[in-house]
Each structure stands twice: as C-alpha cells, then as structure tokens.
Symmetry: C2
Subunit: 221 residues, 2 copies
DNA sequence: CAGAATCCGAACCGATACTG
DNA sequence: CAGTATCGGTTCGGATTCTG
C-alpha cells in the first residue's frame, strides 16, 4: 500500500533539529547514498554496486524514503526503456556540509591510531567491473604516521609501517588531505605548493585513488 | 562456512572517512549522547533521562563503545560513593562540527514544511523533575512560516497557523535561529539587532527554550 | 536485464526486571 | 545509582523472485 507515508517507528520524534535530521538521514546507508549521488546522478544498479554490503531492499527503502523527504529525485527519460536515474535535490545537496564534517572528523581514523594490528577493509564497492583485477600496494604517510595499503582481490589491508615495494608513495598532512578530499585543491596543486610528496607514475596515482574509493579526487595532471 | 564467521558488529569496514566516522558515531542515539555532553559532563542517570526512549542497555553499550574510541571519558571521584561522570574528550568535542552541520540542516524541519497536519513530538526528555507540570503554548514564526507549539503533559504539539493565547511569541529567520542555537549569538543580542522579535516575559522566554529542549540557548537577559 | 518486492535467519533495538 | 540480564519485536543483509 502507501508505504511512502509510513515513517519508521523508530524515529526520535523530538522537536530538535538534530533528531529531525537524523530521522531523515540517520539510518544505516542513507548518508552513503547521498555521498554517492554527490558526484552526479546514478542508476539503481550503480548505487547497488556502490553500496555493496547493503541488501537491495535497503537501497529500495532508503531511496523511497529520501524521495519522500525531497532529498533525492527520480528522473525517468521519456523514451521507453530509458534508464531511471536518481539525483540530489537542492535539499539533498545541502547535506554536503554534513558529509564534509563527518568525513573530516573521520580522516584521523584512516591512519589507524590503534597501534599494531593490520586491518582488513572491504573493497568490493570500489571495484570497477570494466578494469581487471588489481593487486598492488601503496605507501602512505599522513602527519608522519606511515602505513601500507595493499589492494588484494576484493580486500584492502592496512598495515602500520613501510611497504615493501609500493607502486605509489604518498605523503601529506591531515589538513591537506582533507582539502584534497573535498575537492578544494588538486593533488597537483598541493604538490606544487610542497604540501604533498609522491612517487610513482601519475597513472598509478590516479588508479590508487580509484582503488581506495576516492575516484572524485582531482589529481590534476 | 565459506563466509568468515566474524563477530560482525554491523560496521561498514571501508577505508573511507565517512564510513569510519559512522562506524564510531553512526549508531542510533550516539550523537544524542555527544550532544548532551556538549553542555558539560553528566552522570549516567542524567544521560538516561535525557535519552528518554532508549533503553538503559543501549546507553550502557554506547558509552562503552564511545569510551573505547576515546570519544568520551569516564571520571570517578576518589571519595567513596562519589559520582561517576562522563565527559567529552578532545576528540569527542571535535564532533561539534558534525552536530552543528546536522542541526543546521535540520532547522528547516522544525517548521514542518509538510502541509496541514499537526504533529506530536515526544517531550519527556526535556522535563526537569524539579519543576512542576507545564502547560502552555508558544507562537513561532520562522522565515514567515507560522505555527503553534503546545506543551501538554509529556507531549509537544506543533500546529500550523497562529496560536490562540501564546505565552510567548517568537519571530525570526532560519539563519538567525541557527546562530542562536549554536550559541553564536544570544537572543538579547539578536533582538537588539532587530533580527528577532518576541513578546512575553523574559522568564517565559527562558522557560520556553527549556521546555522545547534548548536549555543551552543564551537568552542573555 | 534493470528496478524493485518478498522471504528468512541473524543481529539489533527497546523495555522491564534484576543485581551490586 | 550504575549498570547487567533477558526477552519480544524490529531491522538488516543476502538470496531469490517478480515485473515490464
């Protein structure tokens, strides 16, 4: 029946901006959908691939709810069989500040302050089916914290310390990396300004950001 | 069998600042706890009252997890029977930008763009046990959208239109209200600058913000 | 085949009862 | 007061099925 009108029973129901915001975008995967749509409209199947790990019912539910809140819109071409795409409305695009704040806060966690143990991340969501299997390692240094990132099959493993034979070495500060992620500055510009140092081919650099899930990073070469 | 029988706490497990941030503060109630602690350390029971609607096990779990992430700290006085309090660490205080972004985005939702129907909010979390029952209405106007807020028992009802006999009339713009909520400006200063208009006693104004769940608002009189 | 609904086992949430 | 234990209901995640 009319499911679009039903609100999650698990709403906060408070007269409070934080609560009302979280009632709309606080559920699991919702902000990930928004972030995926920040780089332009996407089809259902593209979103599904990008949200690897979430069930198709979740994606369907979130999109319905977001459409009901006028956060995303659904565009269907008029040609029969033409694709349907989802895009952010103005209200949805305004969530950039929220995602920006969360991502900025989360940058510290990329380095893994907890010492020692290697950590395995899911990487299926960054896999571009048009490219072949990637199997390489990168050397990172952020604010002096060094670690190796090893892309292997559908996993990405982060290990503290130096990498054996990295394809790319990448060194910068947390603040600079943040402004690279937000698109404020390109990697090339940051290198120019002496705020990023990297070794490796430009092609590998570009591929690295794709593999890591930052395809939107402006490499700038 | 073929899939790893991991402890599978529902984490995103992505090498992505947004995902890692949400792994730490994306669960239900977590950001509400952070916001509650923004106004200073609190005891377990205070938090429990402020989080009316969440089970005590949830609060316990969230605090444990937040402590593990060095986002909140636990302080126990050395005197026997002294209270234990929870407070934000520096890392936790850095979440102010996240909460600020969400709250700013959520301000639009306070007015209730969805037409017509009155909406009922839970108000138990704003009830100060030391004060007696409150039963009064306020007239709000934000960016020209008028609505009545009626505090009744443990509910708060928002109704579009004008209130019958409000104790307080409050009129401002969304932007100004945002800066009042963030503490950037006091109500008195905004009135001074002609950006807020209100009618009613200053005492009632102060009480209104408490009843609505904004006890931290600097009235400034 | 893309888009979406349905079903089901498992994890999670919320409320109450209970313990030190 | 500060939690822990437990239980029923809800939500999630994955596979499958349906529909044009």
């Amino acid at each position: 029946m009319d499911k679009s009108a039903t609100v999650s029973k698990r709403a906060y129901d408070r007269f409070c901006p934080l609560s009302l915001a979280l009632d709309q975008v606080g559920e699991r995967w919702t902000l990930h959908i928004i972030m995926a749509l920040m780089n332009g409209p996407k089809r259902y199947s593209e979103l599904k691939r990008h949200l690897a790990g979430a069930g198709t019912n979740i994606l369907s539910d979130r999109l319905r709810r977001l459409a009901g809140g006028h956060i995303v819109g659904r565009s269907t071409g008029q040609a029969p069989g033409s694709e349907t795409t989802y895009h952010l409305t103005e209200r949805g695009a305004a969530l950039a500040s929220v995602i920006g704040a969360l991502a900025t806060w989360g940058i510290d966690l990329l380095s893994g302050t907890e010492t020692g143990e290697p950590q395995v991340f899911d990487r299926t969501w960054t896999i571009d089916p048009s490219t072949e299997t990637i199997n390489e390692t990168y050397q990172w240094s952020i604010d002096g914290i060094e670690f190796e990132l090893a892309a292997h099959d559908r996993q990405l493993t982060r290990t503290p310390g130096r990498a054996a034979r990295p394809v790319v070495k990448f060194k910068t500060s947390k603040a600079i990396f943040a402004s690279i992620l937000t698109g404020e500055v390109s990697v090339a510009e940051a290198v120019e300004a002496g705020e990023v140092r990297f070794k490796g081919s430009r092609q590998a650099l570009r591929r690295m950001f794709s593999v890591l899930g930052f395809p939107f990073v402006r490499v700038g070469y």
